[in-house]
Amino acid sequence: MPAINRLFVANRGEIAVRIVRACERLGIEAVVAVSEVDRNSLPAQLATRAVCIGPAAAGQSYLRAETLVAAALGSGCQAVHPGYGFLSERARFARMCEDAGLLFVGPRPESIEAMGEKLAAVRIAEQAGVPRVPGSDRIETIEDAHRAGEHIGYPLLIKATAGGGGRGMRLVQAARDLAGAIESAASEARAAFGDPTLYIEKFISRARHVEVQVLGDGKGHVVHLGERDCSTQRRYQKLIEEAPSPAIDDRVRHRMCEAAVRLAAQVTYRGAGTVEFVYDPERREFYFLEMNTRIQVEHPVTEMVTGRDLVAEQIRIAAGEPISFSQEEVELRGHAIECRINSEDPASNFMPCPGRIETWNPPPTDDQVRVDTHCYSGYVVPPHYDSLLAKLIVHARDRSSAIRSMSEALAAFRISGVTTTIPFHREVLRHDDFRNAAIHTRWVDQEFMPAMSTTKSGARAALARAAG
């Protein structure tokens, strides 16, 4: 069994801190890659060593596979943890690590490749008996699209096979809009992914996003750790996540988790992964959306309800060890909610607000309140990367207690110097639709924000009130 005594963290921000902490717990030295603006970052200070890999621009630092592999080898590491984003789902990077003799903390390159191509993933799901959203094969021509449209029905969604983050995606209400939407989606997909291939899926209105966390040992054994509900989204970006889902019952939960395990087992999955589903609350049906082959931002809600350390488990699996618990030992307790605190201005269309944090005063943490962050008073949020400042996670015996506890924690969280999404979260949490679990993935865009900003000053006033 290959032992890991030094691990290379090929990421930054809160997830780099999270990985360093997991290494501490496992008695492993952590070497953190830093760009020039991240030289003094919290992960760099907490790690055994920081290695400067390049200038601030991610394209010249955190996205440089060759440099990261050279840095991992040069600093004497045996394994590479890619975190999320950046190179975490690039099969080429995983392959380069393995070719260089480094253990990649993630799935085999072939699994990343198979799941990265959305239609290939759908086919694997079908083989595993996991239902997909009613949809087409690849669309080659406008005639294909029209045939698929007639077959599937409107409204429908156009998607890019190389897709992600909503790019190359179009909602089409009627056949007359199809040709134009296909054209613009294809060019957007070509620009974003270098691949204009599209397919079509039925649009499920008022859908929820529910996903299942799985762990595979790479030898055919897979366990699930229950589901997360990430329906509070803005433009396909998750903002609030919770576990368990308030929208599904035990019967659906059981079927969904079983489906996720079958899918992961189908590819002899190794490491942590997430199988995402669209859930139609009216029909009480779920459909496979895609599989994410990395640790996810929202993994802490699962950790809070299961009491398992997913990042430590990832590292153990990479070292060739078996999963440290059985399916029977996975127990879901209580309810957890996570709010993503971003340096964005909700009153100005969520415009990113990098800059110097003057006061950083998070609520007191204990085993029921957790803050995952790389920020501190005096930290400068660089403009080069994403705007995630912290993840605030609470755990309580049930959902209403968790909402109460989250509201209190948000109220106690004091940040000055940069504008944050805390006021937005406080408003969502006090909204009846959220409290009644009556929201869907377009609720923030279509209902919540329009109501907030009937007048711009009204929105500012509401968000200021929430801030006060």
Binding site: L42, A47, C52, I53, T67, E358, W360, S377
Partner: protein, 160 residues
């Protein structure tokens, strides 16, 4: 690249016309233009490190960072000395291939265009030039060691 008065005026007009824009930072090569709405005005900074200099008001020390940064102190330079820095992370080699004599030794006179070392990233070798005319004073890195981005490699005393 130099920004002309006309360019700056145009940028200011764009900032002025856009409702949501509070701050603009333009970086082009070594040149940096920083425009902020309101009292702060326009500053053009040649040095990157000054861009996010601490605000006048000191930060409140709550949730302060751990104090020990993992940075090796950089060797000080005497007057007239210039450090050649690594333009990329990689393995530092003093000679073109094993067994060959080193590109430079201490005391050697070099010209700006002379290669002083190579850096290898996954079998890709980049020649590093002196960049200035002068004499090699110190070689700060051992052969075959990984160097980080922007790390000091060789100190040259410039000849004016």
């Amino acid at each position: 690249m130099e920004l002309s008065h006309e360019d700056v005026k145009k940028i200011l007009e764009i900032v002025d016309a856009s409702e949501h824009l509070h701050e603009v930072e333009l970086v082009y090569g070594g040149f940096r233009l920083h425009v902020r709405r309101g009292a702060a005005g326009v500053t053009a900074l040649a040095d990157d490190r000054a861009a996010f200099a601490p605000a006048a008001k000191p930060a409140v020390a709550v949730g302060a960072p751990p104090s020990s940064a993992k940075l090796a102190p950089e060797p000080a330079l005497a007057e007239g000395e210039v450090a050649i820095r690594a333009p990329m992370l990689g393995t530092f080699y003093r000679s073109p291939s094993p067994g060959d004599p080193p590109f430079v030794e201490i005391g050697k006179r070099v010209q700006a265009d002379d290669t002083v070392c190579v850096i290898e990233v996954m079998k890709l070798f980049s020649s590093i030039k002196a960049g200035v005319d002068g004499v090699v004073m110190r070689i700060l890195v051992e052969n075959g060691i990984m160097v980080e981005f922007n790390q000091m490699l060789i100190v040259i005393a410039t000849s004016q």
